[in-house]
Amino acid sequence: MHRFLDHHFYLCDMHRRLSEKVLAVLLLIFSYTAYAQHDESHAEEATGKTKKEEIKEYIQHHLKDSHDFSIGSYTNKEGEHVYIGFPLPVILWDEGLKVFSSSQFHHGETVAQAGGNYYKLYHNKIYRTDAAGTISYDEEHHPTNVKPLDLSITKSVLMIIITGILMFLLFRGLARSYTTNGGIAKGIGRFFEPIVLYIRDDIAIPNIGAKHYGKYMPYLLTIFFFIWFLNIFGLTPLGVNVTGNIAITFALALLTFLITNLTANKNYWMHIFWMPGVPWPMKIILAPIELLGVFIKPFSLLIRLYANMQAGHIVLMSLIGLMFIFKSWIGSPLSFGLAFAISLIEVLVAVLQAYIFTMLSALYFGFAVEEHDHEEAH
């Protein structure tokens, strides 16, 4: 147990560490320019917070969900932090529904009061505190305060709603254009129709089979466009990171898992628990492995999407951050060029991850409804 906690302490903030790693690697690449900037960073250290730390914090903040929609912040002449953005509603379930605006938190600086309870934002999480806003910590510096069920409309939830509305309008429009335009897509639908057809002809039918693919099509289409759109939104200056959030990818993978296992036929379960075509001792060995596979498949789905989006954001933001660290004529354009190149790659990754998620979901559905008589194939 002690080892475990030790371990936990050691890794208390993966994001920070991941961004640290990326930064370290990039610093290595740019070491000579960094050397040139040595004096300045020394000067900053004197003020308490180095630029590097500031950027790290900024990246870390960006990667997380937040209770207000802020695009950026700056420090004005009076030394106050000014946030550009707007607050979002906070909805808490803490012995009754509590609804208030996130502006009450003042970005974690003050305590919000709602229905006789006091709440404080600490590391993007809401804790119940006393009027003074004291947060007590355990030995690993984890708050021990009560954490109410947070059903707030956070930045991510808002983006999900916006994406949902956008998708609905877009594809409803496409569906309508067929009836009004004599079976031919019109406007922006002309761009999306081939993609819909691609998902049907190159993802669903080859993996699921022409017989069963119909019932999975709505899910595959929805999940593809949902992930793709949110990935693309993540690359905009809006600064949202929805698909790089473990709760989101978990929810998506859970749906794939549920659909796979709830629509699975007898054949699928037989292949898991009593693999045909192998001697019986092997069957006993294979059953737990196969059963584990049932859970590993959606787990890898959720981790893959999360890690890819997270990593993309960290690399991109670190490169942008480097521009402010190397204020030299060679370092900044170089990191700008790199950031630009990575942005282009990220556009590709955005569609690739959506494609892979959809593709693998289709593949798993295909396993679930497969009907084969050729036992020797396994």
Binding site: H15, F168, L197, P218, A247
Partner: protein, 166 residues
């Protein structure tokens, strides 16, 4: 791993699940089904159109083949008819010739016969007339001879003299 669990926000998870399922159901009803149906219909339509075009082409080919066949048949028929007609014509001509020949022969025969008959009749008549004439002449002669007694007697004597008793 622990970090991931710590970062996991139940509220966000609930929102995501609810909103996504809602989006899925709405899109399924109002977008995906109409889109997929429209696309399917269109593809089906194109397939049918192509099939019917193919059918029409085949039909066309059949018709052309039929036409050719019919033309050929008609040509053959015409040939046949012409040939037959020619044969018939030849036959008719030949027949007519034969008939004419026969008829002519018959007519000639008849003519010959008639001529013969006429000739015989004429000969007979002539004979008769000659006989009559002869008799008349003989009568006249006889009458003259017998007009006077001397002559009669003389005749008798001549005759008797001619008719010598051998």
């Amino acid at each position: 791993m622990e970090k991931l669990l710590e970062e996991f926000s139940l509220g966000l998870f609930i929102w995501q699940t609810v909103l996504f399922v809602l989006l899925l159901l709405l899109l399924r009803k109002y977008a995906w089904k109409p889109i997929l149906n429209a696309v399917n219909d269109r593809e089906e339509g194109i397939k049918n159109a192509l099939a019917s075009a193919e059918e029409a082409k085949k039909e066309m080919q059949n018709i052309t083949a039929d036409n050719d066949r019919i033309l050929k048949e008609a040509r053959a028929e015409r040939e046949n008819l012409l040939k037959e007609a020619r044969q018939i014509k030849d036959k008719i001509i030949a027949d007519a010739k034969d008939e004419a020949q026969v008829q002519a022969d018959k007519l000639i025969q008849q003519a010959k016969e008639a001529f013969e008959t006429e000739k015989q009749a004429a000969v007979a008549e002539l004979k008769k007339q000659v006989a009559t004439l002869s008799v008349d002449i003989a009568e006249k002669v006889v009458r003259e001879e017998l007009g006077n007694k001397d002559k009669q007697l003389k005749l008798v004597e001549d005759m008797l003299g001619e008719a010598t008793l051998n």
